[in-house]
Amino acid sequence: MSDFTLTLIKLAFLAVLWLFVIAAVGVIRADLFGSKAATKAATRAAQPPRPPKAGRPQMAAAPPPPSRRGAQGGAPSKLVVVQGERAGTVIDLTGVPITIGRANDATLVVTDDYASSRHARLYAQDGQWIVEDLGSTNGTYLGRTKVTRPMPVPPGVPVRIGKTVIELRK
């Protein structure tokens, strides 16, 4: 086999190797921004119009993006207990996650018969605070919504844990 053919084969293999990498990146891209096939599948799935999922009302109520950026500027700086046994307690928000529950190792220990020992967790992500229910018996409520999955907590919206209500304040 001539040197020229061998060089061509060599370059062709390197091209195949890089095309493989690019194809793999393309799959990730489709995961992030949607592909034609994925969009089609999604619209097909959404064809019978259904009411929005129970877990998503927050999104519908969320303000449009520009005001969101404005809200980020005034990120909450403290957590205030507004109702319950420990009403008036203020915890500074430093970026460290906060656990709430009856257990001794919780950040905010609530002596509340309706709270679980590890009831809920608040943590910062992308400049906002997220509340997550840790499998509590009586549930965590954000406003009037039951927290079934991690949800962002806007400042001023009450988070209810048993008889305790907390709020994030600027």
Binding site: L6, L14, P63, G143
Partner: protein, 528 residues
């Protein structure tokens, strides 16, 4: 007020990506088969027999793995399996290619009546181990299959391992200790990391790696709050309480002690990095990284001062200046290096005196430490030979480097695929790590987050340590290159690792169950 990620997920929920996964997998197979074809065309001018036997074998195995994954874990990440198959296939092609050349040397040695080269590239053997590895992947996917029944027979998800945190830590220590046990332990190439099981030698450290991730994840998920919040403040650092840190430091000292005894510095570095990164993931405190890097510096300094750790000094010396050590060099107490290669007179004198290892005895007479940088230098020559585009598969001479099929397979790849090919290989590794980290981010359970994060970090660190070692970026330490190197333990452990990640990605990407009662929109009542 959702993060960008949540907004994207709201309009674009995770889909089943089985078709995309299959397309990339088919591409990986084409890549493997064309590597085999190029080897044959360049060496012998025709399509090699190995394309059908070994390449075909891998294709069948990969298809089986794909169908099992698509059936039992349909929401799994689409890229993990194809990327692993591509690396495994390229490794097989390179080992096949080295096997063709070393088998000629083997035959010549046999004809000349010399002793056989004991350690050599063995493509059919590697295919067998790939079979076992993918078999373990399939078995792991079947055992960890997604089922609604929690008490189904043999149902074991990564989450189940959380129940056996301390037991797993104990098993990891036992696995690490096994090679020291006389009778079953064996020292190969200067590191005592092997055990003999019947006719096979196994590296238990590869499996201990996975078990330690399970232990750290299980322990830290319980203690992370206490570790990140409770403790004394020392300037910018906050030190956790001794009882939170105690068990983890004990197990860490134990691992490092064992590894220093076994002279396996690569694995020690790997476990140390794992420890620091998982502490960081769990506590979200940068001070841990600072403490970890500080501890590493202290460890390296202590190791260079201890007399019985002389090999650490040697490794560092070879790394800084490998040239005088080529084919044998002697490090004197004064810090000077005297070459004792076959061209020197002292070597010739010892050889004339009938010494079996002339360089070694010559150095012993000088009162220094003997070491040889031949391997590292040959690997660097191979990389230089490859240049930007490489010599082309089957057209270089990568077998000249000792251990060109295992520790130095990355240099072999560099000689034949060039910088262009190496960048693509590193990107494939980076993509696997990225998919793993993405799984960790998307995981809903804190334990699984830590587990996935640790497992993907340890894979990335392992690639860094060995690739950095063979390219003289950091001192050379013996570790396997995941999926590429020849060797059963490494393949088995890494395929199990991929199976665990695949299972966790299925959990993370599966749509959340719909509420039975659809309450409709709820208005937020502002209480201000």
């Amino acid at each position: 007020m959702n993060s960008l990620g949540e907004q994207i997920r709201a309009v674009l929920p995770y889909q089943r990506r089985n078709a995309a996964s299959f397309a990339v997998l088919a591409f990986a197979m084409v890549l493997t088969l064309s590597a085999f074809a190029e080897v044959g065309l360049a060496r012998d001018g025709h399509i090699p027999a190995g394309l059908f036997t070994i390449g075909g074998g891998l294709v069948v195995l990969a298809l089986a793995a794909y169908f099992v994954q698509a059936k039992f874990l349909p929401y799994a990440d689409p890229l993990l399996l194809p990327l692993a198959v591509a690396l495994n296939g390229l490794g097989l092609a390179m080992i096949y290619r080295l096997d063709l050349d070393t088998s000629d040397t083997k035959k010549a040695a046999q004809l000349a009546g010399k002793k056989l080269i004991k350690d050599a590239a063995d493509a059919p053997g590697q295919l067998l181990w790939t079979f076992v590895g993918i078999g373990l992947f399939v078995a792991a996917v079947l055992i960890m299959r997604d089922t609604t029944k929690t008490d189904a027979p043999l149902s074991f998800t990564p989450k189940t391992a959380q129940r056996y945190t301390y037991l797993t830590g104990l098993v990891a220590i036992i696995l690490l200790l096994l090679p020291i046990v006389p009778g079953i332990g064996a020292e190969i190439n200067g590191a005592r990391v092997w055990i003999h099981v019947g006719p096979l030698s196994v590296q238990p450290g590869e499996f201990a790696k996975l078990l330690l991730v399970v232990f750290f994840a299980g322990y830290l998920v319980n203690k992370r709050q206490a570790m990140s919040l409770i403790g004394k403040k020392l300037g910018p650092f906050s030190l956790p309480r001794a009882r939170d840190l105690g068990p983890i430091v004990v197990i860490w000292f134990f691992c490092l002690g064992v590894l220093f005894m076994q002279k396996d510095l690569g694995t020690a570095l790997l476990f140390f990095g794992l420890f620091v990164s998982m502490l960081y993931i769990a506590t979200q405190r940068v001070s841990w990284v600072a403490i970890g890097v500080g501890l590493l510096a202290v460890g390296v300094f202590v190791a260079t001062q201890l007399p019985f750790m002389a090999h650490v000094n040697q490794r560092i010396d070879i790394w800084q200046n490998p040239k005088p050590y080529f084919d044998g060099g002697c490090l004197l107490d004064s810090g000077k290096v005297v070459p004792v290669n076959p061209d020197t007179t002292i070597y010739k004198r010892e050889k004339a005196a009938g010494s079996g290892y002339p360089g070694f005895t010559a150095c012993a007479k000088l009162g220094g430490e003997y070491s040889d940088s031949r391997q590292l230098m040959m690997g660097l020559f191979a990389l230089g030979e490859g240049g930007v585009l490489g010599t082309g598969l089957g057209q270089g001479q990568p077998w000249q480097t000792p251990l060109s099929f295992s520790d130095f397979i990355f240099d072999s790849m560099g000689e034949e695929l060039g910088l262009t090919g190496l960048m693509a290989l590193l990107l494939i590794y980076a993509l696997i790590v990225q998919r793993g980290m993405k799984t960790a981010v998307a995981a809903r359970d804190p334990y699984l987050k830590l587990f996935a994060g640790g497992v993907s970090f340890v894979l990335g660190l392992q690639v860094f340590v060995i690739v950095g070692g063979v390219t003289k970026l950091i001192p050379l330490t013996g570790l396997t290159t995941p999926f590429l190197s020849q060797g059963g333990s490494s393949l088995m452990a890494n395929w199990i690792l991929i199976a665990i990640l695949v299972r966790m990605s299925h959990d993370a990407r599966k749509p959340a169950p719909q509420a039975i009662q659809d309450e409709g929109m709820t208005q937020i009542v502002s209480t201000r």
